[in-house]
């Protein structure tokens, strides 16, 4: 071998030779490229569902916010407090305050059935009764349309996600739940969190309608700072009048998202791995036929003194270029088709629907390209080795 420069120029010329012959092999090359694009699109697409769900859950809680539930309850559904408990909780040290008092909202949570727009079948939609402080306890709460409900009135405001996913939640409409009708007076956003999947009304109104007496299910609080969580938690858990569990909202929502994201991720990887195996066979087929179509040329080059190393590298490079092309196409398709796609699924912890949007993150795109590269490597390696080990004399005789 006459030095690295010479070797590189050999690689370059053999690779160029291979790449220039691609138009003659349009069929098999595009089959391989599309195969790899399919793997990447499915991988990125399926994982973007999990990423979107996780993002919604993460956006729901802030580090300086805490939720209080009855001890032993793992969700609001099964938690319960009397009004005096919620007062004790609001008076605990460590909470942020406004001029009206501590930032704590005692809330209750019921589920009503509304038809999903996409399927027309009933879905469990959360209807939450909140206190006045609820709007300050949650960061990023904003009215998008209309106004807030008036305390004491049978009025509701609807999260923007719920308004998109469920039928009949437009401003000015009336929601029927059992024998009651609730006029929709506003649409709100909440920084992309789960609150956007919910319908809100005044807690005392909801208590009356659902015969809940003066009881609540959870207390949402804003801490004076993220570090005052421990103080707040210790004060409540050592209070003999209470039997509660205190969680940072970030932890509470992270816990709720694990089951769904794990399910989607497991299935997504299973499907994409199988597809990847199929794509490897496709790539192998393409590269083997590329090599066999060029048997004479490769043999001639070898006879002229080109090294077997440069032949191996050039076949690998060609395969990688095709794989990367497929990867980029697949990632682009996934991004265009799935990013921001609005949907809703069941959150089994709260037994109700969560609306969210698919998220094609940069990380997922990179992951897709990495998969494409690996498929290209495997698909190119064996044909490359065969090309390098061709017996020169025999191959030339085929002329």
């Amino acid at each position: 071998m006459a030095g690295p420069i010479n070797w590189l120029s050999q690689v370059a010329s053999v690779t160029k030779f291979g790449l220039l012959s691609i138009p003659q092999r349009r069929g098999s090359v595009s089959a391989a490229v599309i195969g790899i694009a399919g793997v990447v699109a499915v991988l990125v697409g399926v994982l973007s569902i999990a990423a979107g769900f996780r993002k919604t859950m993460n956006a729901s809680g802030a580090p300086d916010a805490a939720i209080v539930l009855r001890s032993g309850a793992d969700s609001e559904m099964v938690s319960g407090f009397l009004r005096q408990d919620t007062r004790t909780i609001a008076d605990a040290p460590g909470l942020a305050r406004s001029d009206k008092g501590p930032l704590a909202s005692a809330e209750l949570f019921v589920i009503i059935n509304l038809p999903k727009r996409s399927t027309g079948t009933d879905a469990n939609v959360p209807l939450r009764g909140v206190e006045e402080e609820a709007f300050k306890v949650r960061d990023n709460f904003k009215m998008v349309e209309g106004r807030r409900f008036e305390p004491g009135k049978d009025e509701v405001i609807v999260g923007i996600g719920a308004a998109h996913q469920f039928a009949g939640l437009e401003l000015g409409n009336k929601i029927k739940a059992g024998r009651y009708e609730w006029p929709v007076v506003g649409i709100f956003s909440a920084g992309g969190g789960t609150a956007e999947s919910e319908i809100w009304t005044d807690a005392s109104v909801l208590q009356g309608t659902y015969h809940r007496g003066d009881s609540f299910q959870s207390v949402y609080t804003k801490l004076s700072s993220p570090s005052s969580f421990q103080q707040f938690k210790d004060a409540l858990t050592t209070d003999p009048r209470l039997n509660v569990k205190v969680l940072r909202q970030t932890d509470y929502y992270a816990e709720q998202s694990t089951a769904v994201t794990r399910l989607i991720t497991t299935l997504g990887f299973l499907i994409a791995s199988l597809m990847a195996v199929g794509a490897v066979f496709g790539a192998l087929n393409t590269m083997y036929s590329a090599v066999s179509a060029r048997t004479r040329e490769i043999a001639t080059l070898r006879a002229l003194g080109f090294g077997s190393g440069s032949v191996v590298v050039s076949v690998l490079l060609e395969s990688l270029v095709l794989a990367l092309l497929g990867g980029v196409i697949g990632a682009t398709v996934a991004y265009v088709a799935f990013n921001g796609f609005q949907t809703a699924t069941m959150n089994f912890q709260s037994f109700s629907q969560v609306t969210f949007a698919f998220q094609v993150t940069r990380q997922l795109l990179i992951q897709g390209i990495v998969w494409a590269t690996v498929i290209g490597m495997i698909g190119g390696l064996f044909p490359a080795l065969r090309a390098a080990s061709l017996p020169i004399a025999a191959a030339l005789r085929e002329l």
Partner: protein, 384 residues
């Protein structure tokens, strides 16, 4: 049939290429099988007893309860044979992640309503005699290695006993199996009388009812009558066929059918391209030989048949092997470790898969086959 040898040697000419094509078809059908199983697990979970069962739930939402006294009123409606109730217990055994359903039921009528749960007469007798007795499905019993006679503590996040205790103890007196492959054998059922007496609140309230109608052609009518019966009461109802109820649940998770169908579409489109390309390549390389075949008297139709048979053989072989592998994987059980208990490969989809593999062979083979048929002997021989 007499040309099978010819087809076979054509396939063996480029063993590597045939092998790789076969493998990519195989993988496509493994995927088909896995996706069908996933769809089955997410959407078709529960065995349905046919059209004669209705589910009655509170109209506002299934989490709202109904009075136990509705049973008698439902059974008085003409055409209703039996009404039984269940209540969501929401219990946790050991760890919140090991989820399975536990519901209090009235044993005799419950087993009457659900013949898909098979329990031996001795175990049924033991259940009727043991107040704290519970029966559990074979899947859950296997999972936790429970035996008859075990005492199982389950903590309920919803129901406390009158003394404030949330841990309920049940004696396993029976282990039931499923009559059909897709009978859900994960739930535990325990006695309603024990539950009713011990619970601290909401006495006399149950979760939902299942109704059996005498004549399934009357089911829609009876559903309407049930809802009318309870109209304007504090507990209005919504009654629907069990199938619609179960599908409604699946649709709450998401449009699973659409998602799996789009993935399958992507997979088959790709495979179609790969095999189609390989087939046409194979035919192109053999132009000369096909010319010879025609010259020695093979008819156009015979040449068409030869090429088509070749592609169909590869596709069906790959399809059968792939479906077999998928079946093996699916019979290994739930890949997510407990989240999809109903994970298996439905027979109906197996047949669809076979049909698809034939279609694949036809579609990929037909264009090369047509061009082989149209080949003129003189042109073909000149290219030799």
């Amino acid at each position: 049939m007499k040309f099978i040898h010819l087809i076979w040697s054509n396939l063996r000419r480029k063993k590597l290429r045939t092998g790789l094509t076969l493998l990519s078809i195989l993988v496509a059908f493994v995927l088909f099988g896995i996706l069908s199983s996933i769809k089955q697990a997410l959407a078709g979970g529960i065995s349905l007893e046919g059209a004669n069962r209705l589910v009655v739930r509170q109209k506002v939402s299934i989490i709202n309860s109904l009075p136990e006294s509705y049973k008698a009123r439902m059974e008085r409606i003409p055409g209703v044979a039996l009404a039984v109730h269940q209540t969501w217990f929401g219990g946790i055994y050991q760890d919140a992640k090991t989820f399975f359903m536990q519901n209090p039921v009235v044993p005799e009528e419950f087993l009457d309503m659900h013949p898909e749960f098979i329990l031996s007469p001795e175990q049924k007798k033991a259940w009727l005699e043991t107040r704290t007795g519970a029966i559990v499905g074979s899947k859950t019993a296997d999972r936790f290695h429970w035996k008859i006679g075990d005492k199982i503590p389950i903590q309920s996040s919803i129901w406390a006993q009158t003394d404030g205790n949330r841990v309920w103890e049940f004696d396993i007196v029976g282990i039931y199996s499923g009559r059909d492959k897709n009978t859900d054998t994960t739930p535990l059922f325990f006695r309603y009388d024990y539950f009713e007496e011990a619970r601290a609140r909401a006495k006399g309230e149950v979760g939902w009812y299942t109704i059996r109608v005498k004549d399934s052609s009357q089911a829609a009518d009876i559903a309407k009558k049930v809802d009318q019966e309870f109209e304007n009461s504090p507990y209005e109802t919504k009654t629907e066929p069990e199938g619609a109820f179960v599908q409604g649940w699946a649709k709450q998770v998401g449009n699973i059918a659409l998602i799996t169908a789009s993935i399958m579409g992507a997979v088959f489109f790709t495979i179609l391209l790969v095999t189609g390309n390989t087939m046409s390549q194979a035919v192109r390389e053999r132009t000369g030989e096909l010319g010879v075949l025609k010259a020695i008297g093979f008819s156009n139709t015979q040449v068409l048949g030869l090429v088509l048979a070749e592609s169909c053989l590869v596709a069906v072989l790959g399809g059968v092997l792939g479906l077999g592998v998928a079946w093996l994987i699916a019979s290994g059980g739930d890949p997510t470790g407990g989240m999809l208990p109903q994970f298996f490969f439905p027979r109906r989809d197996l047949l669809i898969g076979l049909g698809l593999s034939m279609a694949l062979g036809f579609v990929t083979g037909i264009f090369p086959a047509l061009s082989a048929m149209r080949l003129r002997v003189a042109d073909a021989l000149r290219r030799m």
